[in-house]
């Protein structure tokens, strides 16, 4: 009696009811089907699927619906009111315009999942890309251009971040910061690809230190990142001097991110690989899980979504492959930034949904105390989230530099951060923590970008409208967030 067998379920069902339902195996009594968790197997056909989806939306899980509706409304509105909106020349610009916001927002999703905020992501992006631009323009020798002890402070900053990362046992983060430190001290950043790595690893260091201030020192993230929002702005000014712009046009890797296109054939290859990969995984999962009597998405739904993806994707690739150059210059093909964002989308989504790390992020966002009791190292999760956020923000800064052809002394300031937060929230990520996806950043980023894009084509629309309308969208998204939170009590 004292020892217990290896069975995971030591308890015999001694009460009669549950057994009788099974033994009496009454096919005529679907009302008792709850015994067998039948609701796990989901809807079997399209009608049930639609009903289940409506129930889900009403139950406070609108998913991607608001953002998709927003996209449709914007496209229809601008499509009917301007001539140029639905033209190859304009729509091919959208990925490039949206990418910096999307990439910074992807990072913010990690922080928002914990119910925290990173207000410094924008200016951190500016400072990191500023370091990159200066380094690559000066043969990687930052010591030469950074005066008055700035370089020394930079090195010390990276070293401190390295020590902190090791202390928190963030091995990947520590490796990244160490790499950045090596780049900083060895002039390797004369190479444009390595200079991008300098920007990203500087972001990693920023994230580690932001995280430690929030998680271990215990300052609210709002205050920490508000202070750092100002600090990184000042650091960028220190780096570059007031009013300066450091160009990046001449460096193939940096410039290429936003300004080079895949050849049409490669565009189709990206399309086929994405669709086949996504299709295989989702169909295979649905069929196999159902065969094993596990909860699974109905195959109809999977196929429907796949068809939608194929149509939208094929149309986009076809559109992007048309020549959009004026006169003699031929411009065609999918911008490089599209596969870059796609890869980030897939990798980060896998991180959030398929790993214990991702699961713990959601858990901490849902119930930090409960996560602690489950043995999760909550402070370490917080530091990790800020580290990922700032690293991605730095890469967003690189994209921003690529897009504008250089880093000016105010890069990443202004509304950069607010638009990124807006993108995540419009996409469906909750400001209260515990709910959000990487996909939200992409959808929300597109919405946030289409507004100024479309308004810019109206000759009589000032930027005042841009702000007002973007603000209205953000308010609507926050309202949806709050309402669904009340409904689902998440």
């Amino acid at each position: 009696m004292t020892t217990q067998g290896s069975t995971p379920s030591p308890v015999e069902p001694t009460t009669s009811t549950a057994l009788h339902h099974q033994e009496g195996s009454s096919p005529e009594a679907p009302s008792h089907s709850i015994t067998d968790f039948t609701a796990d197997f989901g809807a079997a056909n399209l009608r049930e699927t639609v009903h289940a989806y409506i129930a889900k939306v009403r139950g406070g899980e609108p998913g991607a619906l608001p953002a998709l509706l927003g996209l449709v409304v914007l496209v229809l509105t601008f499509g009917f009111t301007t001539k140029l909106f639905i033209s190859v020349g304009n729509l091919a610009n959208v990925p490039g315009q949206a990418a910096p916001t999307i990439i910074i927002a992807m990072g913010l999703v990690f922080v928002l999942l914990l119910g925290e905020i990173d207000l410094a992501a924008g200016t951190a992006a500016g400072a990191c890309s500023g370091a990159m631009a200066l380094a690559v323009n000066n043969n990687g020798n930052l010591a030469k251009v950074l005066h008055g002890g700035t370089f020394g402070a930079y090195v010390i900053f990276m070293a401190v971040a390295l020590i902190v990362a090791l202390w928190q046992r963030l091995w990947l983060g520590a490796a990244a910061v160490l790499f950045g430190l090596v780049i900083l001290l060895t002039h390797l950043a004369s190479n444009d690809v390595v200079s991008i790595a300098l920007a990203v690893t500087t972001g990693t260091a920023i994230g580690v230190l932001t995280g430690i201030l929030v998680a271990r020192v215990g300052i609210p993230s709002f205050v920490v990142t508000l202070a750092l929002f100002l600090t990184w702005q000042g650091v960028l000014l220190l780096f570059e001097g007031n009013g300066a712009t450091v160009p990046t046009r001449g460096f193939a890797a940096i410039n290429g991110i936003e300004n080079k296109n895949l050849s049409p054939m490669w565009g189709w290859i990206v399309f086929v690989v994405s669709v086949v990969g996504y299709g295989t995984v989702t169909i295979f999962r649905s069929v196999r899980r159902r065969a094993r009597n596990l909860s699974a998405e109905p195959l109809v739904l999977v196929l429907l979504r796949l068809v939608l993806l194929i149509v939208v994707g094929a149309f986009s690739v076809y559109f992007l492959n048309k020549n959009r150059g004026k006169g003699l210059v031929k411009i065609e093909g999918m911008p490089w930034i599209v596969p870059i964002v796609l890869v980030l989308l897939v990798v980060l989504t896998l991180l959030l949904t398929k790993t214990a790390f991702g699961r713990y992020l959601y858990a901490v966002g849902g119930n930090a105390e409960g996560s602690l009791r489950a043995g999760i190292n909550v402070p370490r999760m917080r530091v990790s989230a800020f580290t990922i956020s700032s690293s991605l923000a730095a890469f967003g800064g690189v994209a921003l530099a690529s897009y504008s052809g250089g880093v000016n002394s105010g890069a990443g300031g202004g509304n950069t951060l607010l638009f990124a937060v807006g993108a995540a929230v419009v996409g469906g990520t909750s400001l209260f923590g515990g709910r959000g996806r990487i996909r939200d950043a992409v959808l929300g980023g597109l919405v946030i970008t289409l507004i100024p894009n479309g308004l810019g084509l109206h000759s009589n629309m000032s930027s005042a409208y841009n702000f007002v309308i973007t603000g209205a969208f953000l308010l609507m998204a926050a309202a949806v967030d709050a309402a669904s939170r009340r409904r689902s009590a998440v």
Binding site: S6, T14, T15, S295, T355, I376, G434
Partner: protein, 261 residues
């Protein structure tokens, strides 16, 4: 029933700053028995539980598990020994589904990438719920925020049973439940003990305690007033132990009781 405790705590002291919450507390859990831990508000029940679970470090005292001295530094240590706590506030994550909650912190992973093995977790969660005769849960993929109080309590207990635990501590499991749901949970408590686990039940409800407990430990202002067999005491005596720290010849010396107050 075995008379050697599976979990034994000796002379536990615990202070928060200047306030000493536990005074040399002895506490035993026996395999196959339900040990009720009772006491008035502020007697130190929850603190003692959290010391067992590794949430609070103990200041002084020894912990023995199956006769071997052990130290518990954190929730993972407690879990490794097979001690599981079902907290009063359940500690479930509202935004995660039942399977995710039951495996939180101890996910089953696939080789070689260490990604989550969802099918395996889902199957085991379902088997466990079935073995507990849980009939009120529609889907193991429901998020916890959509569950009722009784269903949440069931999930929390099922989470404790999922692992090959030796000791399960239940902190006020019936406090928020209706009559029928209380009945189910109490049956569940008895079944846990019958299967050989050491069960600790913290409760304010004397009817529940007298019904399912084999032994009763009474805390009075941070001290153990008495550890008694349920069969040896009456309802009235337990209430006296809770309120005054002694009853007849059982309990604290009047001087000690007065000092505590």
């Amino acid at each position: 029933m075995a008379d050697s405790p599976i979990l034994s705590m000796r002379g536990i002291d615990k202070s928060f700053g200047a306030i000493q919450v536990l005074h040399s507390v002895d506490f035993n859990v026996y395999p196959g028995e339900v040990m009720a831990l009772v006491g008035d508000n502020g007697a130190g029940k929850s603190t003692l539980i959290k010391c067992v679970g590794g949430i609070y470090p103990i200041d002084h005292g020894d912990v023995f598990f199956e006769g071997t001295p052990v130290t518990i530094h954190g929730p993972r240590d407690a879990a490794a020994l097979g001690i599981e706590i079902v907290y009063q506030d359940l500690a479930l994550c509202d935004n995660l589904d039942i399977v995710q909650n039951m495996f939180l912190g101890r996910e089953i992973k696939k080789r070689p990438f260490g990604n989550l093995d969802e099918p395996a977790m889902e199957q085991r969660a379902r088997e466990t719920l079935k073995s507990l005769s849980v009939r009120t849960v529609k889907s193991v993929r429901q998020v916890v925020s959509s569950l009722s109080g009784g269903q949440r309590q069931t999930v929390a207990i099922a989470k404790a049973v999922l692992w090959n635990n030796r000791v399960v501590l239940l902190d006020e499991p019936t406090a928020a439940l209706g009559v029928a749901q209380t009945r189910q949970v109490l049956d569940l408590v008895r079944r846990l003990a019958q299967s050989g686990l050491g069960v600790v039940l913290i409760s304010h409800n004397m009817n529940d305690v007298m019904e399912v407990a084999d032994r009763i430990t009474t805390l009075y202002l941070g001290r153990v007033a008495a550890e008694v067999k349920r069969a040896d005491v009456t309802y009235q005596q337990v209430v006296e132990l809770i309120t005054t720290g002694r009853t007849g010849t059982i309990g604290l010396q009047p001087a000690t009781a007065a000092e505590s107050a």
